[in-house]
């Protein structure tokens, strides 16, 4: 009853092509937007921003990026951490080289640079597939991390080898550096996430997205019906890396402020983002949000439960966290290979009939 297409008449092409064709979805979208933009910034405090909201928003951008490549185009990548590092270091170099330019432009440019690097590492995907490609992307991961560690130019010859985000302002409000207010951190990440998600959603509905999905489902068949695999795969790599680069730039400049490359962007980060899209749902933008929220919240919830409530040592809880995440991955792959997004889809099917099941 509540959730249905019936009665929602479209009278123009514009209405038929809108991002959320179903009225219920549209209402839900605007309510979510209203809460995210108008309520949370006023109630957010430092703990909630740093432990939950900012990492969630940033990982959601990375998950959208990886989901475009893996979920929509079928190319498994284990190089997400490396590409995030490219975004972070590109952003750092731009911030220090052109201090007068707005950081928003720097972050977008960092995404662009990452897109170029991603497309370059995507070139082998034209020859190699499946696992072979997954392992080949590890080359990107290890090479990029090594590069940012060894070449002093990337971290401006600082003695510690770290990069530190200088203070930058957007519309007179500090968004990076030590004096940033929690709501400012939250807002800049939210704006980027909203724009990225809308772009991603509309890309995947259009020609480009369909050619990606054709490649994912059967690349040879796709080639025969006229999809250019070179174009489809490289655009998937570029677009995916663009989002991943933006998330890396935000992760460094807004969230952490200071970054040591091996620690922040190591192989673990690649797996974390991969897990997000598996748990959330491959090939679904909603799944990126669900997966990112789940994997950001899980350690926090476990920590609250284990350390604060039960009084267990921190390292024990960290180990339990590994066990639970690992078990959940296997559980989801067995029971629900399409992830949380599929649960949401099923819920919507039920809503269509509710409250009269027949």
């Amino acid at each position: 009853m509540l959730y249905r297409e019936a009665g929602d008449f479209k009278t123009s092409y514009h209405a038929d092509n809108q991002t959320f064709p179903i009225k219920f979805d549209r209402i839900g979208f605007w309510i979510t937007m209203a809460i995210a933009f108008l309520v949370i910034p006023f109630v957010i405090n430092d703990y909630w921003a740093n432990a939950i909201f900012v990492p969630f928003l940033i990982y959601a951008i990375a998950a959208i990026g990886l989901n475009i490549l893996t979920g929509y185009c079928g190319q498994v990548s284990l190089g997400t951490g490396g590409f995030m590092a490219v975004g972070a270091y590109a952003c750092y170099k731009l911030m220090t080289a052109f201090p007068d330019v707005s950081i928003v432009i720097h972050i977008i440019l960092a995404g662009g640079i990452t897109a170029a690097v991603g497309a370059a590492f995507g070139l082998p995907s034209l020859r190699i597939k499946g696992f072979y490609l997954a392992v080949a992307t590890l080359a990107a991961q290890f090479f990029l991390v090594w590069l940012f560690n060894k070449v002093a130019w990337f971290y401006n010859y600082s003695a510690s080898g770290q990069i530190n985000a200088p203070e930058r302002f957007v519309a007179g409000v500090a968004v990076t550096g030590p004096n940033t207010a929690p709501w400012a951190q939250y807002m800049i990440c939210l704006v980027f996430l909203t724009v990225c998600a809308l772009i991603a959603r509309n890309l995947t509905r259009g020609t480009v997205g369909r050619s990606w999905m054709a490649i994912r489902d059967m690349d040879i068949a796709a080639e025969i019906i006229g999809v250019n695999p070179l174009k489809a795969k490289l655009t998937a790599f570029a677009v995916s890396s663009f989002f991943v680069g933006i998330s890396g730039a935000l992760f460094f400049s807004v969230y952490l402020g200071a970054v040591e490359v091996g620690e922040a962007f190591g192989i673990q980060k690649s797996f974390l983002v991969l897990f997000m899209i598996i748990i959330g749902g491959l090939g679904s933008i909603f799944g990126c949000f669900a997966g990112a929220a789940f994997l950001v919240l899980l350690p926090v919830a476990l920590k609250v439960l284990g350390v604060d409530v039960l009084g267990w040592p921190t390292d024990l809880v960290a180990h339990l966290n590994l066990v639970i995440v690992g078990a959940l991955i296997m559980f989801f792959l067995i029971k629900e290979p399409h992830g949380l997004a599929q649960l949401w889809r099923l819920a919507k099917e039920k809503l269509r009939l509710w409250p009269f099941p027949y």
Binding site: R127, A136, A139, F142, W146, N149, F275, P313, L316, L320
Partner: protein, 332 residues
Amino acid sequence: MSADFLYGIEVIINGLMAGVLYALVALGFVLIFKASGIFNYAQGVMALFAALTLVGIMEGQVPFSHLINAIFGTEVHHFGWEVPALLAIAFTVLIMIGFAWAVQHFVFRHLVGQEPIILFMATIGLAYFLEGVGDLMWGSDIKTLALGLPQGGSLVVEEWTAGLGGDDFYGFFIDKLDMIATIVAILLVASLIIFAQYTKQGRAMRAVADDHQAALSVGISLNFIWVLVWSLAGIVALVAGVMWGAKSGVQFSLSLIALKALPVLMLGGFTSIPGAIVGGLIIGVGEKLFEYTIGAPYLGGATENWFAYMLALIFLVFRPQGLFGEKIIERV
């Protein structure tokens, strides 16, 4: 002969020995991949888990003592006995077989017929799970593996080869442990080949690797074979874990050797045991030589982190199925 040239040879010999260890890990991958089509990312963590278990049993640690202490407020750590190495190895093998059964029974039996990439991601989940369980069971501190294996450079080899060069050459420096690892690896490979060629189970294993359906129709139990290959992979992991653990201590970084084994596999081909060995040797020698000739002098060192992947990547672009892999035939 000039000293530089001799040092180059020493680098190659050391690379060969490192390569043997890579091959040892890669072997575990190939076994499982051939028989079940599962690309087992957890192989490295299995090596870590096996080594942790071995140390834990030998020292008489109470499993899950950390967790028990946290829940019940007790202070248990050790049983107070020490188990001799051979007995401990036997126990560890039993545990790895139990693990193989559990993995097959609870996870991969339910995933039969899924896409390979789904299976691969499931093994990543398995790796996390096993890493967490290993830490919970035995604690996450670095442990030393006291099996009484000799350590340090071999003086005999050093003196014996010192005469090859001039006054500034002091002979080849070769770690005794590496020599033992090489011998063990050769023995292990030989016994695996004998097992696969001459025993009933080994033949059944190869039959499954060739064709699941045909193997089923002649009465081979797929479930049994899969438990068997996971057990074998567990034993190979134990050997690899012991060798690496004796070298650098039993710690988390041990599980990262799995990542090193991946380019080895890509080079050698996922389905070939000789490929795993040759690939391991090529990667071992390649990364040491690259570090010695180009990496350390010009690029600031530590190129070993990525060289293997780059080599495999470039290699794959020209030969996508690896050196010895079966030709990839794609059908629509």
